[in-house]
Symmetry: C2
Subunit: 460 residues, 2 copies
């Protein structure tokens, strides 16, 4: 018996290895990777192995009116998985079975704890492809990807996680196990509750199984085009020109000098550091169309770049895309506190927004590194401050808020793919306005009347 009747009930309902109570161990489950987002203390961490075990935990929380905070790998960047005081944290890390891979229907069924890259590798064996590829794909889980509607490099041509979710098994706030969505290519039977669950950050139900749509595996070697730009704004202009011309790169990324330097320092990668920003575009059309599209992208890059080149060297191209993927962990190696932005702009305002970010960084004396899914207008300014430097932290927070405000002023959104979590609640309020917020809260109230599912997230 513990001093907590909820914990006693959870211990009685699950095999003992499912429940973690040691405070030092519990402490490692209390927050995601969003620096500076607050978190509380959990009563327990549970690591169920089955839907039935998840349902038992939710029912126990419901009976006691206590909060449940679901989490995947904890790679989130908005505080969406952060514990609240007295909650049970439910980690899906042990629910990692790939239940089905079906070539005839082009779908897979997985438990939520399956790691993104593991799913991609497993379906590739069957000639199939799961496109959503957040930079966290070596670690993040499909359940977490669905809960946050994760994006990635492929989105610019192939869409985000929502576009690949066919059906979900969900444990409701009452602890009932339901299935929403379908296994067919199309379907309109009732409101799209599966779509509503995507991006709801565990506030409307706990996802216990995911049916994803797949594409045929891509074949052939993509062509890569690189441009080196003297200013972020010039790079932003090139992105706008490529889009306006009707080109459709399969990846279209921006990396700035600070990021390139960090990757070089960490990995001795020998990447070029002599430009303010690098644009990386890839085309995966069948040849010779790929060559034509690459030439067109090259022409638009060359019109504003210091230097631009097209490449068919897969190794060289992969090294550059690795630099993009490694930028975030490389910056973490600097040992500084990092606040990650995620604003998304209309593509035509990208150059202007990048200019504002530079101006905000200078005015607040904050080092800001920039990576971006440029083709989507999705910017990730990364605000870096030395650990323990409180004045720098305050300046960074002020800069963070100004970036959010600038994105809204330019017709953008406060979060393109990381989610609202805790960090973007004020921004989301400003973006949506009181009437839409009231609708959001009404939906939350309808599906979680007690407010036990990840309270305080998304709708605040």
């Amino acid at each position: 018996m513990t001093a907590d009747a909820l914990v006693d009930e959870v211990l009685a309902a699950l095999p003992p290895d499912r429940v973690l109570l040691d405070p030092d161990v519990v402490a490692t489950f209390l927050h995601d990777e969003a620096e500076w987002a607050p978190h509380g203390r959990a009563a327990a961490v549970v690591r169920p192995r089955s839907t039935a075990e998840v349902a038992a935990v939710v029912r126990a929380c419901a009976r006691h009116g206590r909060p449940l905070v679901p989490r995947g790998a904890g790679t989130g960047l908005s505080g969406g998985a952060n514990a609240v005081d007295g909650c049970v944290v439910l980690s899906t890390e042990r629910m990692r079975e790939i239940v089905e891979i079906n070539s005839d229907e082009r779908l897979a069924v997985v438990q939520p704890g399956v790691v993104n890259d593991d799913l991609r590798a497993a379906v590739a064996v069957h000639g199939l492809w799961y496109p959503p590829d957040p930079a966290s794909s070596p670690w993040s889980t499909i359940g977490g990807n669905v809960a946050t509607n994760a994006g990635g490099l492929c989105c610019v041509k192939y869409g985000v996680t929502r576009d690949y979710v066919l059906a979900l098994e969900v444990v409701t706030a009452a602890g009932e196990v339901v299935r929403v969505g379908r296994r067919t290519a199309k379907g309109v039977a009732g409101y799209d509750l599966a779509g509503l669950m995507v991006g709801s950050e565990g506030t409307l139900g706990v996802i216990t199984e995911v049916t994803v749509r797949l594409r045929p595996l891509r074949t052939g070697t993509p062509r890569t085009v690189v441009g080196f730009f003297d200013t972020l704004a010039a790079a932003g202009d090139a992105v706008a020109r490529v889009t306006a011309r009707g080109l459709q790169p399969s990846a279209f990324e921006l990396i700035d000098k600070v990021c390139l330097q960090a990757v070089n320092t960490w990995k001795h990668a020998g990447l070029p550091e002599n430009a303010a920003a690098l644009l990386l575009a890839q085309t995966d059309l069948p040849e010779p169309a790929a060559g034509q599209e690459a030439a067109a992208i090259h022409a638009e890059f060359a019109a504003g770049a210091r230097d631009a080149m097209a490449s068919t060297d897969a190794t060289e191209a992969e090294a550059l895309f690795d630099a993009r993927r490694l930028a975030y962990p490389a910056l973490e190696q600097r040992g500084e506190a990092m606040l990650t932005e995620d604003v998304c702009l209309p593509r035509g305002r990208l150059a202007e927004m990048l200019g504002r970010v530079e101006e905000i960084a200078a005015r607040h004396d904050v080092l800001i590194a920039n990576i971006a899914h440029a083709g989507d207008g999705n910017l990730h300014p990364l605000l870096l401050t030395p650990h323990g430097d409180e004045p720098a932290k305050l300046r960074a927070q002020a800069a963070f808020e100004e970036i959010v405000a600038a994105a809204l002023a330019l017709g953008g959104t406060v979060t393109g793919e990381h989610g609202v979590g805790l960090l973007k609640i004020p921004g989301m309020r400003a973006e949506l306005g009181p009437e839409v917020l009231a609708m959001q809260r009404a939906v939350k109230q309808a599906l979680d009347p007690q407010g036990i599912l990840n309270p305080g997230k998304v709708v605040g």
Copy 2:
């Protein structure tokens, strides 16, 4: 002054030409094209020209606690726009302004009454393409397409209406004007209320403006592959083989002999009638990849067809696709009552389902014509009975119900793209089960607590 205080209030709020009260005129607005779906009598029909006028009508209905039934062109096939007694029917037919076409952002903003084909033509001038193409596209409106999440021929490769809705302006049940969604390529600020509105058939809000995502206009001539099959099941098998092989036709349709005969009779089209079913596939890849994909599709057709051929003759191909588009109106010319099915199956079960449809038709002695978005597994068995033949009508209704049950038994859904409306409410209940239905009703209750918006539709 009329005898109805609500009508008086609407008359006072709107310019006089917006309100129709003549019973003969009102009678033409009381139902869509779903034969046999019941409808009630409306108190008035309003045809507002602006969002403010829509809001005034909704507020009047809210004050009087009276139902409001929105409609587009009335081309629906499930009774979703059918009047209920005492309602105000709100037709969006006069809200047909194309507000913005933006090449830089690849989006358009339109009022809900803009006709689908008109939008497609308008954006093509700017080198852009709006893919969703329901067979009703010459008449149906974007607002209606969004309200029903309309599909069409392009869905098999390019997705349905939901995949193209970026943002909506909506008048809520309380008469407030809100904006949901965004203008950016990506965004996760709050629950996806725009996605929730798509397919909600006017039961959660009245759509007054739609921001759609566009693609670059396709160039080049697609290649067409045709197969003639001796049985529907053999055609279904060919569809499954094409999908399992990882091919991605940009249209993939089935037309049966009854439909071909009807088009020939109506349009003297000279289409081949010597096979049970025709499969039509198109590929729009850039050459030479299109040639390779067409050859692969041809091989799969030839493996089970009486005859198969690939064509690059655009005129010939267009004539065959016209036959697909004209099948529905051609059958209407027969002057019989027609009940339209819309089940959607896992692609691997298509042949089995087509066999069951044939068996059900024979057993109930009902003439069933079949058209299908075969590549999506979306079947439209069309049940035909002579007008006034009550026993035939009862047999057709029994066959309709058996088709729905068979689709569910094979893992399908009761409606792939036409919507629940009234006709599919029993089927939807069977498909979703009581717990998910309760969630659907909770969402409806949250956003329309008085239950005034298109009552009785979707959630019953």
